[in-house]
């Protein structure tokens, strides 16, 4: 994984005239840093727990694990305001509850879905945001600033551009963060949306989670440029490269692009370099082992985002070595971890969600034909 800033990435610095004197991360308090760590734990635990539930046959649908990619979700979402919008896709399940979670994990009025709602979705219950009409990541809620995506990759990016255009019309300095994998940047609608956003300098920030593989296809067969961020050059917008394993680097790059977008300077693409821990979906775990050489996987998972961040916190003296070692799910596969690897508040939080999901009813069959059309109400 290359994490040095390429020519593209240096765009950020070029534009401001000189390297950032103060980086966004420098304004974070110790409490923020520890919160970031907890969110990383939470994202990992959510995934691990669902992998286990899935294996026990308790869940339907496909689980696209975000394992090893959590720093991207946590780092991009941490600095957003409640009025900002996001569009998570298949590999971004934790994003639904991470949105605005800084406002309080249990704050009922925060933007972002509750862990209960997200679990209800995974369990396919009537209490899910979309009443379980589509699976897993295909949920959204306008009142929470989350675009409900279809399965069609890159399909939410033009929608994000439309929302950003609405912000512009309202003179509102909110932003929209879209997520997609590197493979999805090959889609035509990716181009159409970014082109439109660039022309109108819309506040759309496209987070490209480059985990090196699009299902069974390596990035070289999806994208002809050295870095996926280079696609930005075709629109004359910043194409930043973040170390997707380093939550602070993701945070810095995001905040730079967000501030720029809020200032009316237009869209950016942020490529976050990372590596897919498992198969494409849980159904692919076995086959993935055939098309991905073992040493590539080992190398790709060498820098677990939890480990990277804990090391940084210890270095800074924000976390003691003891505390750092207390909870150590890093480098472990889902099956190897136990609840003891995670802080109690994380385990407890997820437990609440799962319990809510399990105790929620299934939607009634009579709902099948409901809500095809909205009633005329104006």
């Amino acid at each position: 994984m290359k994490t040095e800033r390429s020519a593209t990435a240096s765009h950020a610095e070029k534009e401001s005239g000189e390297p950032h004197q103060t980086r966004p991360r420098d304004l974070l308090q110790n409490a923020d840093l520890l919160e970031l760590l907890d969110q990383l734990y939470l994202a990992r635990y959510f995934d691990v727990r669902l992998i286990k539930e899935k294996r026990r046959g308790r869940l339907r649908g496909t689980l696209y694990s975000s394992h090893n990619q959590e720093a991207i979700l946590v780092g991009t979402l941490f600095g957003l305001r409640p009025d900002d919008w996001i569009s998570p896709v298949h590999r971004d399940m934790p994003a639904f509850f991470l949105k605005d979670i800084r406002a309080g994990w249990d704050n009922p009025s925060r933007m972002g879905m509750s862990i209960g709602e997200v679990c209800a979705q995974v369990w396919g219950k009537a209490t899910a945001p979309g009443r379980a009409r589509d699976n897993w990541s295909h949920i959204g809620d306008s009142s929470k600033g989350i675009i409900c995506s279809t399965s069609m990759l890159a399909g939410t990016i033009p929608v994000a551009a439309g929302i950003a255009y609405d912000f512009k019309l309202r003179n509102q300095d909110s932003v929209v963060l879209t997520y997609n994998g590197e493979g999805s940047t090959a889609q035509g609608v990716f181009h159409e949306a970014i082109n439109f956003a660039a022309i109108h300098k819309l506040p759309v920030i496209t987070i490209v989670e480059n985990n090196q593989w699009a299902y069974g296809t390596p990035v070289e067969l999806e994208c002809p440029t050295k870095d996926v961020a280079d696609r930005a050059k075709g629109y004359d917008i910043p194409g930043l490269i973040a170390d997707g394993q380093d939550v602070l680097d993701v945070y810095d790059n995001t905040m730079w692009a967000v501030e720029r977008a809020r200032a009316g300077k237009g869209p950016s693409i942020i490529e976050c370099k990372t590596f897919r821990a498992y198969g494409h979906g849980d159904h692919d775990d076995d086959r993935a082992a055939k098309y991905r050489p073992e040493d590539e996987v080992g190398e790709g998972r060498r820098r677990d985002p939890l480990a990277v961040f804990k090391q940084e916190l210890v270095k800074r003296g924000v976390l003691s070595q003891d505390d750092a070692s207390k909870y150590s799910p890093e480098f472990k596969n889902a099956a190897e971890t136990t609840d003891e690897d995670f802080p109690a508040r994380v385990v407890e939080y997820m437990k609440q969600g799962v319990e809510f999901a399990i105790s929620s009813p299934l939607p009634d069959a009579s709902e099948g034909t409901m809500w095809v059309f909205a009633e005329e109400n104006r």
Binding site: H138, S143, C148, T156, P158
Partner: protein, 334 residues
């Protein structure tokens, strides 16, 4: 609003449509228009002429040539509560934005369990008979009628176009609006549109009463059917001609009611035959009013071909007054 052309003198369909959009833009400052060449130029046919001057280039937006991106952006705007009018320069190009329409816009309300509705109209010039060839002659409504979550309309008169456009813009659902371009400037059908005129989605219009057979149609073929009906009258055959105007929702009552009276039905539309809306109507009629039919239901549609360019070929595959007349005669003589 630019000077009103309606309500005082007869207007053609294009003016009526322009006027309806204009009035809705004035009525609701949240509304946005987006499409290719709709601003500075005022649209390939002039359906948005003057609107950019009136409402500014932010609300009447010249989009890049990218139908999927345009529809997607419209979804985003509609999600934020704005009514959006999307122009397809020709309805044929809607194929380039197909996924966003059928999989994203159409199903949003369903997928969010009734939470996120999208007030948007996708409209564009449609239909053959003008020598447009395969890509400037389509009447491709069946694709969208088969995609749950979309409403579909196709008016044939200026006042219906005006009324339905307003209803479509105010409707909380995505509506695909077919504007028969051969009728845009047709002098013979100009009308004075009364102040405050409305036409709800889902109401058919009986264009001619008759007792011997029911001809169900919409769009340009309405006029061929009316012509055929005149000719049939001289053979002492009284055909009832129903202009559906709105295909989904459908005025089944009007359709079935008429068939109960005439006991014979001919469906005419200009889409290609297989899996077109004409067949769907026949199926519905047979399902629900079978015992009222005294003859096999018939349809006159485009042949299952693209719309070829040169006139003799074009007319050979499209419905014509002659073909309708012949079919109706066969129907009543069965």
């Amino acid at each position: 609003m630019t000077a009103s052309a309606t309500q005082s003198q007869p207007v053609n369909m294009l003016t009526a449509i322009r006027q309806a959009i204009d009035e809705e833009m004035e009525r609701n400052p949240e509304m946005v228009c987006i499409g290719e060449d709709i601003g500075l130029l005022g649209g390939a046919f002039g359906a948005t002429e003057g609107l950019q001057d009136e409402y500014g280039s932010m609300r009447v937006l010249d989009a890049p040539i990218s139908e999927a991106g345009i529809v997607g952006a419209a979804i985003g705007l509609a999600m934020r509560g704005r009514p959006v009018m999307v122009e397809m320069q020709f309805i044929d190009f809607i194929s380039c934005g197909f996924d966003q329409i059928v999989n994203n816009a159409a199903t949003m309300f369903y997928r969010t369990g009734g939470k996120v509705n999208l007030p948007m109209v996708i409209r564009g010039p449609s239909g053959g008979y003008g020598g447009g060839g395969p890509y400037h002659s389509q009447q491709n409504e069946a694709w969208f009628l088969h995609s749950p979550g979309l409403k579909v309309v196709c008016p044939s008169t200026p006042s219906d176009a005006y009324g339905l456009m307003k209803a479509a813009i105010r409707d909380p659902n995505p509506v695909i609006f077919y504007e028969v371009k051969e009728l845009y400037r047709k002098r013979e059908i100009e009308e004075i549109i009364p102040e405050g005129h409305t036409v709800p989605l889902g109401k058919a219009s009986v264009r001619r009463e008759g007792s011997d057979c029911t001809i169900i149609t919409y769009g340009n073929p309405v006029y061929f059917c009316l012509e055929a009906a005149e000719r049939l009258a001289s053979e002492n055959v009284q055909a009832e001609v129903i202009d559906l105007r709105s295909l989904l929702p459908l005025d089944e009552e009007a359709v079935i009611g008429s068939i109960k009276k005439t006991n014979r039905v001919l469906v005419v539309n200009e889409a290609s035959r297989t899996c077109g809306f004409a067949g769907e109507l026949i199926a519905r009629v047979c399902e629900t009013a079978f015992e009222h039919l005294d003859a096999p239901p018939m349809r006159v549609t485009r042949e299952d071909t693209p719309v070829p360019w040169v006139k003799p070929l074009e007319l050979s595959v499209l419905p014509t007054t002659d073909k309708i007349y012949d079919a109706a005669l066969r129907l009543v003589r069965y």
